[in-house]
Each structure stands twice: as C-alpha cells, then as structure tokens.
Point group: C2
Chain length 456, copies 2
Amino acid sequence: LLIATLGATQAVAADSQATLESLKNKALNDDLSYQIVESLTTEVGARLVGTPAEKRSVEWAVNKMKSLGFDKVWVEESEAQLWQRGDLSASIASPFAHPVAALALGNSVGTQGKTLTAEVVEFADLAALQAAPEGSLEGKIAFVAYKMARHKDGHGYGEAVGARVVGASEAAKKGAVAFIMRSVGTDTNRFAHTGVSRYADGVKKIPAVAISNPDADLLQNTLKRGKPVSFSLTMSASGPTGKTTTIANVIGEVTGASKAAELVTLGAHLDSWDVGTGAIDDGIGVGITLAAGHYISQLQPRPARTLRVILFAAEEIGLYGAKDYVQKHQDEMSQHVIGAEWDFGNGAIYELEPGINEAALPAMREFAESLAPLGVSMANSNTAKGQSDMSALGEAGQPAVNFNPDGSDYFDYHHTRNDTLDKVDKQALKTNTAIYTMFGFFATSTSTDFRPRPAS
Amino acid sequence: LLIATLGATQAVAADSQATLESLKNKALNDDLSYQIVESLTTEVGARLVGTPAEKRSVEWAVNKMKSLGFDKVWVEESEAQLWQRGDLSASIASPFAHPVAALALGNSVGTQGKTLTAEVVEFADLAALQAAPEGSLEGKIAFVAYKMARHKDGHGYGEAVGARVVGASEAAKKGAVAFIMRSVGTDTNRFAHTGVSRYADGVKKIPAVAISNPDADLLQNTLKRGKPVSFSLTMSASGPTGKTTTIANVIGEVTGASKAAELVTLGAHLDSWDVGTGAIDDGIGVGITLAAGHYISQLQPRPARTLRVILFAAEEIGLYGAKDYVQKHQDEMSQHVIGAEWDFGNGAIYELEPGINEAALPAMREFAESLAPLGVSMANSNTAKGQSDMSALGEAGQPAVNFNPDGSDYFDYHHTRNDTLDKVDKQALKTNTAIYTMFGFFATSTSTDFRPRPAS
Ligand SMILES: [Zn+2]
Ligand SMILES: [Zn+2]
Ligand SMILES: [Zn+2]
Ligand SMILES: [Zn+2]
C-alpha cells in the first residue's frame, strides 16, 4: 500500500496537486484568455501573411507577452511565399444568371484581367474528377460538389480537403480552364471557405475557387435541369509570385527554476486568413497559451522546467513558421520534453491523447485524473504528434499531447468571414484555458520525463 | 342536442370534413410547394424591383399558375419608385483598420463618388439618437447599436425596425453626415440585413447603412477603448431617384362553382431583396399559395366561391403592389369575403388568429378544430388584418385570418444573402401548405360569411 501510494504521488506530489487545483480555479474564474482574443481581434483583426496587419500582430504579440510577465520574449524571422488575394467576382452566367459567393483558394492564380466564362462539368468528388478521361475537360470548368460531413472529431475535413489542395491541378491535367468546388465547411451560410491549395509541378496553373454551400446547391440544381450551364469568373489573385515575405515566430519563456534548459512548449499560430478576424482560428490558441504562460509565470516557486510559448507564423499557408522553428532549434530539439498546440477552435476538450515515452504513461494518467472533473479522459492510444504547427516539432522528435475538443461546429466558421469574436464560447474557453494551464504546470514541474517520443 | 349537432355541422359539413382530410393528406404527402420554391429561386433567384430578374419573375409566375391549373391568370401593372443599390465598401478606418460587412438600406443615397470618412458617435437605440442635442452630430456618423431580441412571435422586429426606417433623417437633423446601424436581425453572421428606409421631407438625405452583428460588436469594442473612432463609406446607391419602374401583381383564380363573384384571397409577395434568392422571403409564400390553389383547382365539384391567389409586387419597398390592388379593385372590395397572406418564413404555424364578423367565429372555431392535429389552435382575439400585403386589403375592409408561425429564426435569414433554398424547412412547409389548402377550401366552400370585418 505504501509503495503504491508513493508510486501514485511520484508524478504529481501533494503540493503540486494543490497548485493544480489553484491554477484550475484561477483560470475558471478569470477571463484573461478571452480578453487576449478580444484584444488581438479588435486591435489587429485579420492578419494574412504578407499584409500590414500581420506585421502589427507580431508587434502586438511581443507587447502582450511582455505585459503578461514572460521572462524572455523574442522574435525569429524567416521567409514565406507571398500570395495576394486581389478581387473576385463569380456568377452562374446561364441559363439563369445568379451572383455566386466565392473565394479564391490560397495560392490561386487569377484570370489575367479578363472574365473567364465556360461550361461547368460536375463531379461528385475528387476521385470522380481524377477518373475523368484525359482531355475531357478541354475548355471547361471542373466543379467538385462533394459536401463535407460533420463529425465530433472533425474527420470530415480530412475527407474533403484533398480536393481543395490538389483539385485545380487534377482538373488542369484533363484540360480544364478553372476549378471550382463546394466549400470545405459544415455550415449553410452563403459565403465561401478559403484555405490553401497547391499547384503540381509542370501542370498549367488554373484559377482555384471555393463557392458557398448554398451556391453549390444552386449550381447543382441548375445542372440537374440537363442543359449546359456556364459560369463566369473574374479574379485578380496573384498566384505563386515567386516573391517571399518576411514572417516571424513570436516566442516567450517563463524560465524554469532548476532545469531551465528543459523545454515544455505550448503553441498556437498567430497568422490567420484575411476574411474573418481570426478569433477561432487561431486567436483562441493565442489566448489560451498566453494566459497559461501568465498564470504559470505568477507561481512562486517557479516550476523546474522552462515553459516556452510559441506563436507560430504562417501556419495557414503551410506551417512555414513551424518548419523554420525546427530548423533554427535543431540543436535544442532533444531538450524539448513535451509540447501541446491549440488550433482546434471553440469546443470543450474531452480527451487527452498522449504521444510520449511509454514509461511516462502512468504519470500522464495520474495527471489526467486531475482533468476528469473538467470532462477530460485519457485516450488509450499513444501516437499524438501535436496539432498543426506542433506536428512539425513532433516529427522532429518532441513528445506531445493532443487535447481533443468537440469539433462539431469548428468547420462552420473555419476560414470564413464568420470567424469573429462573437463565436467564442466563453465557458469552454475558460475550461480549456484551465486545462492548458494545468498541463503546462504539470509538465514543467513533474520529475517524469516524456522523452523519447514513441517510434511512429 | 340535435340543434347543437346541426349547429356544429353547419360550417363544415361531413363531406367537407372528408375533403379537408383528403386535402390535408395530399399536401402532407407531396412536395409541390417546395418544388415551386425551388423553381422560383433557381430559375429566377433574387428579384428586386426594377431589375431584369423581377420582370422574369412575373413571366415565371404567369407560366407557373397556368401550368398548375388556375382558370384565369392575369397581370396588373402599376408603377413603383426605382432604387438602385450600386456598390458599397465600408470600413473602420482608425484607430484599428477593419473591413466591415455592410449593406445600403433601401432608398439610401450614396456618397457621390467620394469616400466619406468621419468620427462615429454611438447611440444605444433610436430614442437615444433622437434625444441628442441639435447640432451635436455635425460632421459625424451616427451609429445605433441596438440589438434585436429573438422572440417566437417576432416582436423584436417591431422594436428594432424603427431605427432602420427613420434613423437616417433623425441623425441628419442633428447634423450627421451618415447613419449606420447594427442590422435588424437575430443571427451572428458577418453580413448585413437590408430593408427599406425613408427620408423625412425637408431633411438632408444622408447615407443609411446596416452593418453585420459581428461588425457592430467590433465597432462597439473599438469605441469602448475611449479614443476617437473613424469610419469610412464609399457607396453608389441611387437614393430616391424620382424615376419609377413598372411593377406587376400576378393574379390567378380558381373559379367558384356557384358564388363566383365572392372572393377568398391567398396572398404572398413575388418580389424580393437582391441579396439572397428570396426563398424564405417570400418564395415560401409563393409556394404555399400556388400549391393551395392547385390542390383546390383539382376538386370536383369545385367550391362555391372563387379562390384568388395574388402574388403582390414590390412589397419590400413599401406594399406598392398591395396598394395598387386595393385601388384597382375598389368596386370589388366588398366581395372579398376573407383573405390570408403567407410572408413569415419557415416556422410551423401554431395559431389561427381571425379578424372576421363575430357571428362567424363559431364556424371558424369549428374549422380550427380540423387544424388541431397539425398543432394549430385558435387565438381568442379577433383583430387580424392579414400579414404584409394583405393588411392593405384588411384596411380596405377585407376580413382576414393570420396564421402565426414560430418565427424564432425568421430574422436570422430575413433580408440577407442567407435567404436561400437550403434554409427551407421541408416538413414545416408541407404542414403549412396543408393548413393554407384546408383554409382555402373551407373559406370557399362554407356557407358562412365572414363579412363585415370587425371595426378596429
Ligand atoms: Zn489554424
Ligand atoms: Zn486555419
Ligand atoms: Zn416579405
Ligand atoms: Zn421582406
């Protein structure tokens, strides 16, 4: 019995339990993370890579970290590809004229000052487009009508996003002059979801456009009538310019008391798409990780390890900031004990999913017990690499924890103009902030090591 | 007992009960009204007064009525004021720049080719604006932040819409150069709700603009910081041009078998705002009333009275079609036995509210019994004048029934780009179509007269 008790208190000692409890109550009874999201979305707003607002967001983040009591705050600059959205106007041209709510996909080229009008050919999904005979889309516009499914864990996104990433090149291979698709999203709002696309090497670059769910319905209903349907696009998106723009990860540390070289990382991305104010994606992550850092910075004594909060640059256009971080911190990667990102919106966390040394699982399980009253249970799997940016650090060897939320409504707002402050669920945000704060404290203070991460 | 039984069967005889039952089952097991909405929104779409699509909608309606078996179909033309939306771009200019989702209100003037930038002064509601001292808004933009409340009967609209109608002139009286307001709507989508506004005589006409709920939040949060906030508007809305445009009520009749001169009217409006496809407002009304007319046209023998379905023109910009109808049919108004309009969206009807001769209330109550299985009860009041257009006929003496639905979500979609086919609740539409069909049959076949309507 004595041994069992000792074993159980090894990971989370009694005084640590008290601190966990007090941090939890602090976060649950405070609205710091919400105030941070309010500040970022009001004082900066949309912050697409390459825009003046993105530069302002870096300044905002440095100032915010300093005011929140981080010991060290710095910026790490690198370069990312520049893309500019320009203007877009889209319409069903015939047989019945309708304006269409549409957005250029990231990286898309435009229509070179002209209006492109062509007949639409509908495909049920990406696979159907890929199965079309060579040359069969000569002079046509390919339309993928696939509708993303709503799931708690958001896996409908994975099923739908392939068309967004590679659809334009797949269509161009068959001769298409443009690619349009039903937005990757679960809402029924008449506006489109943007997101990144990629052109395959050696394939003609054609315009890549998402249309809103209601407009996709309208287009399908029009096509159902069996007569040719033509669609018009006028857009000035820049395409891949070859130019780059300076981006910046913003990093803040709460220095550890006794093992300062050992790093626990909390991450979020600072950039956003240009159409909303980036509240849900990923203002919430910024709010949670900065608030967690603040609460932990107030502790006396400080935890043993250093807590490093990383606000990554240019996640939306391809994890540029995360990749740069891994490159710049290669020599230090082995000191990354564990990390967690928040980039999954608004929902209450229900699961802690580890990706850590097996020997550390009992300690993590014991910590997870302290989250049970907040509705969190621990997954049986041990394969987490970290959300979004943190997956790049995971691939570089960092052990990780994924906190999985109810993502049922995440793709209602994702990459749309509706990603605004009012969508933030204040109660879930408090709870999730408490969870990240508790995790940050546990991981920096426990004697357990989480390294090395399991082989994948 | 015998007398009571006779009394009870006077209004709705046994064979009529059977017909009511069969019409109900027909409508509940059919999707004709939905198919009509699909056809109108797909083949015509948005149909703002003065646009080519509005002309096409008239042609569409005539053809649809003919194909649905109406005995007589005709068009009655008149004139309405022309207003053109033009383009609009709005933004918070400083201290933090944000694009703003906004729409010109109907009738609004533009900014005469210039960009208007001025400081914003916030008011909690219209009354607060009206209480501002003379001259206190010189060179400023007045912003009414009032947020419409959500209610089952939609009465929050009445509390909010005053600012939309008279706000611009009230602001101009104090010296303001523009008027902006939080949209009259219950949603949190980042797009604005349009709707009609009116300039007071002798007051300077200034731009009148609705902004989305999230943008109103953003503007309020910016103003809260206590520093001057400037707002920019560039818009080419025409204002009241003095020009008129031809509009047309489309009317179809199912001729009565024995009392053809006596008219039962079902109404809806054919026009819509330009931002959605007018599915909810008022495609549904078109679908319900045309389907009801079709089902009744199939009856053998025909009911005694004539059923007249009126698709009114130019409701959105001020009941022009309804007013013209009353004028053109003055001599015939006394033959209007009773009428009902549908212009209240998507929700299930829960109440029949009469506005009829008191002596006819028992008959109406007996008819209402047949709607009870559909969830409809009869109101105790007897003051209904008819929804929207039908209120003009009510004021001209026509007895009326209002069918009141659950309007909780109506103002989520009302006058927005989100008013599209996918928002139609197919099940509620079937039920509401059944109710209107049953009402149309009851009112054309009963020996009860509903005239004269009660004095108001
Ligand atoms: Zn993200
Ligand atoms: Zn994103
Ligand atoms: Zn209406
Ligand atoms: Zn309306």
